[in-house]
């Protein structure tokens, strides 16, 4: 096949591209320029947005022996990922921008452009597997549980999965580094990136404050009594305990947690730990990564964070929403988080949590 290798400048995408070449594909390396004013040098734990990263990607392509180009996706990234991130926080939700990037950039803008240009698909360094079986090509967890990225890929439609190649899903990260070393790739020991790539300082709260303002507002308990003041509602996270600055203690001295963020009234609601517990999750904007689920309840697993636990649940689609009823209560769920459903290790689909109870 003729495929585009999305190369961030990191070790994973470099090894993925090399493996795709070895599998007999005709591979062209593409680095996505996502920042309109990229920094010259990488700093901290971000690893894809600087000129240094694009240089690393180019050198990896040289080593692998494939052509290399840079595609400017800064505008698409800003509109589809950064603005969405801000809008979600402004609405009091907690988004995951990596999912949006996979949904709107890597497996949409890039894959569509690649297909239009006569390529068959896109290869990336994500840790996930695909399998071909009676349901067609399906998306599965990687064998390395610590690196598994199937959660952030759960926004891919079956058509996008058909155009995606994930060569790293069967290998543990530690072995990818050894392999990169053996292949002579200079990025073999480059540190992993794990922060949000477009927040240069790693200080999400500060970054949000700079863009959304930091209007002071009330912190209330769940009966509506004001017990403190916050410095910008969207810089708080559901389940947060520290940094609330509350001076009035609870009657029994137990700690208080953020239960709810209300952007319209700029209010943060706090309460006891047990009030954070939910057992039913409902999500909108459902995407099926395989056959669509119907109203008949099925047993499986729900996951609500990129590296969160797989929670036993019963799930179904009520016609408009994806619903997961958890076997055990879960603490600290925010609207905007992605609910991903697994059938054993297969990704069934995902939805954006809009309500929990």
């Amino acid at each position: 096949m003729k495929i585009i290798a999305a190369m961030s400048g990191g070790v994973d995408s470099a090894v993925a591209a090399a493996r795709a070449v070895e599998a007999g594909h005709e591979v062209i390396g593409v680095h996505l320029a996502l920042a309109s004013n990229p920094q010259k040098y990488r700093s901290g734990a971000r690893g894809c947005c600087t000129i240094e990263d694009s240089h690393d990607a180019r050198r990896a392509a040289d080593k692998i022996g494939i052509p290399f180009y840079i595609w400017d996706m800064a505008e698409e990234f800003h509109e589809g990922v950064v603005e969405n991130f801000l809008a979600e926080y402004a609405a009091g939700r907690t988004p995951n921008p990596c999912l949006r990037c996979n949904e709107k950039i890597k497996f949409a803008a890039v894959l569509d452009r690649a297909k239009a240009m006569g390529f068959d698909g896109v290869v990336t360094g994500h840790y996930a597997r695909t399998q071909i079986g009676p349901m067609g090509k399906t998306l599965h967890r990687a064998v390395d549980p610590l690196k598994d990225q199937s959660y952030v890929l759960a926004v891919l439609t079956t058509e996008q999965i058909n155009g995606a190649i994930f060569p790293l899903g069967d290998t543990e990260k530690v072995d990818i580094r050894i392999e990169a070393e053996a292949r002579g790739l200079a990025v073999a020991q480059k540190p992993d990136s794990h922060d949000i790539c477009f927040v240069p300082s790693g200080d999400n709260a500060g970054w949000l404050r700079d863009r959304l303002g930091s209007e002071v507002g009330p912190i209330v308990d769940n009966t509506g009594n004001k017990i403190g003041e916050h410095k910008g509602a969207y810089t708080y996270t559901i389940g947060q305990r520290k940094g609330l600055g509350l001076t009035i203690p609870t009657a029994d001295g137990s700690p208080r947690f953020v239960l709810k963020i209300e952007p319209v009234t700029n209010t943060v609601v706090v309460g006891a730990r047990e009030e954070l517990a939910v057992i039913k999750l409902m999500g909108e904007k459902t995407i099926w990564c395989g056959p669509a689920v119907e109203e008949k309840p099925l047993r499986g697993f729900a996951q609500v964070r990129a590296h969160g636990a797989a929670l036993d649940c019963t799930y179904y689609f009520d016609g408009t929403r994806l619903v997961a009823e958890l076997d055990k209560p879960l603490l600290g769920i925010a609207n905007g988080q992605a609910l991903v459903i697994y059938d054993a290790d297969r990704v069934v689909g995902s939805a954006t949590i809009c309500e929990s109870a």
Partner: protein, 377 residues
């Protein structure tokens, strides 16, 4: 088959230049040394200087060897500015970054004021604008810089008229693309300074020349041993210099042959892509450059697709991150950002053939079709 159509970026080195260079590489002797070996290398350098002076129509003493065309442009722009004691710099809006960026640097660091002289839709300098500028503010102008021909479109600029309008104001011209491709005489043009580069004319990389009027001294960028009229210090790059001269004097580049090929290419291109148009087509152009806008495409997609088909061409401008940017040259010619980013430069050279042109034309329809499809996304 692979076809190289990016000769304006760099062109294959001529055999005569390789021979001259390899002979020189095996010789010992610093041209500034006083002994036998030094004098021998010095003679080679001065013979080469004579050849280049003859090729460009200047005195041998007016040739200052530099490390590149960019260095020659920098030395001229900064040197003429510092020498003048005046603050106003006038350059064309379509200058190469080797002129544009030192001029902007002088604005940021030396208090200069920069005025860009516009061009018309064909990419030719607006002489009336310049006349008015000189009439109003001539006494404030430190220097005027207008390239002899544009590197992206090949459009030749009216330098003799610029010099005429400038009067006593120093004029620099970047003649990197023009040298050996179109008639060029330093003396006849009457400019103060001119920049040349070896690797655009069949010579090696890393050698260029600043042509500067005899006894016209400007402050140096590089200080050291005082070589090259104390305007450019550094041990003379004798192998580069002799190879530059061998290429410049070779007459291997046949302008009429290259122009015929270009015409064949453009005719074929307009037949297979009727909506395409050639930038600067109504102006006098260099023989080998064809800058084409393909509406409804993005040039970086086209370049990738052409490259996949083994045809090398150029998108013009890229930023330091390697991201394609709209060309300031095409914008100055009235393009908007979208059409400027739908353009490719094809440039032919001394060894280009009819088979090259025909092969490039054969892959174009598919490339354009896929480029359009990718642009719909």
């Amino acid at each position: 088959m692979s076809v190289y159509l990016d000769h304006a970026a760099t062109t294959p080195i001529f055999d005569v230049a390789v021979k001259a260079m390899t002979d020189a590489l095996t010789k010992v002797g610093n041209p500034s040394s006083l002994h036998t070996e030094g004098r021998s290398t010095r003679k080679d350098v001065e013979d080469a200087r004579d050849l280049i002076a003859k090729a460009v129509g200047c005195l041998a003493s007016e040739v200052i060897f530099t490390g590149s065309g960019t260095e020659a442009d920098n030395a001229a722009i900064k040197g003429l500015f510092w020498k003048s004691g005046k603050k106003l710099i006038a350059i064309s809006a379509i200058e190469h970054h080797a002129v544009l960026d030192p001029a902007r640097w002088l604005v940021e660091h030396e208090g200069a004021e920069l005025i860009e002289i516009p061009v018309n839709k064909s990419g030719e300098l607006d002489l009336d604008f310049l006349k008015e500028l000189v009439a109003k503010r001539g006494s404030e102008i430190a220097l005027i810089s207008v390239m002899h021909s544009n590197n992206e479109t090949g459009v030749i600029q009216p330098i003799a008229e610029v010099v005429n309008i400038a009067g006593s104001i120093p004029v620099h011209t970047d003649a990197v693309q023009s040298f050996t491709k179109t008639p060029l005489s330093y003396k006849e043009l009457g400019v103060t300074s001119m920049a040349l580069s070896a690797h655009k004319v069949g010579g090696p990389h890393g050698i260029g020349a600043l042509i500067l009027q005899r006894a016209y001294e400007i402050p140096a960028l590089l200080h050291g041993g005082g070589q090259e009229r104390e305007i450019r210090s550094g041990t003379l790059n004798a192998p580069g210099i002799v190879a530059f001269a061998a290429a410049a004097a070779s007459k291997i580049y046949e302008a009429s042959k290259v122009q015929e090929l270009r015409e064949r290419f453009e005719a074929g291109l307009l037949t297979s892509a009727p909506s395409a148009y050639i930038n600067g087509v109504d102006a006098k152009r260099l023989p080998g450059i064809s800058n084409v806008t393909f509406p409804g495409t993005q040039s970086d997609s086209l370049l990738l697709l052409m490259d996949s088909e083994k045809v090398s061409c150029s998108t013009g401008a890229a930023c330091s991150a390697g991201v394609h940017r709209p060309s300031h040259v095409l914008l100055a010619m009235g393009h908007n950002e979208v059409s400027a980013q739908s353009s490719l430069r094809f440039s032919l050279g001394a060894n280009s053939t009819q088979a090259d042109v025909d092969f490039a034309l054969s892959v174009l329809p598919t490339v354009i079709e896929r480029g359009r499809a990718a642009n719909q996304i």
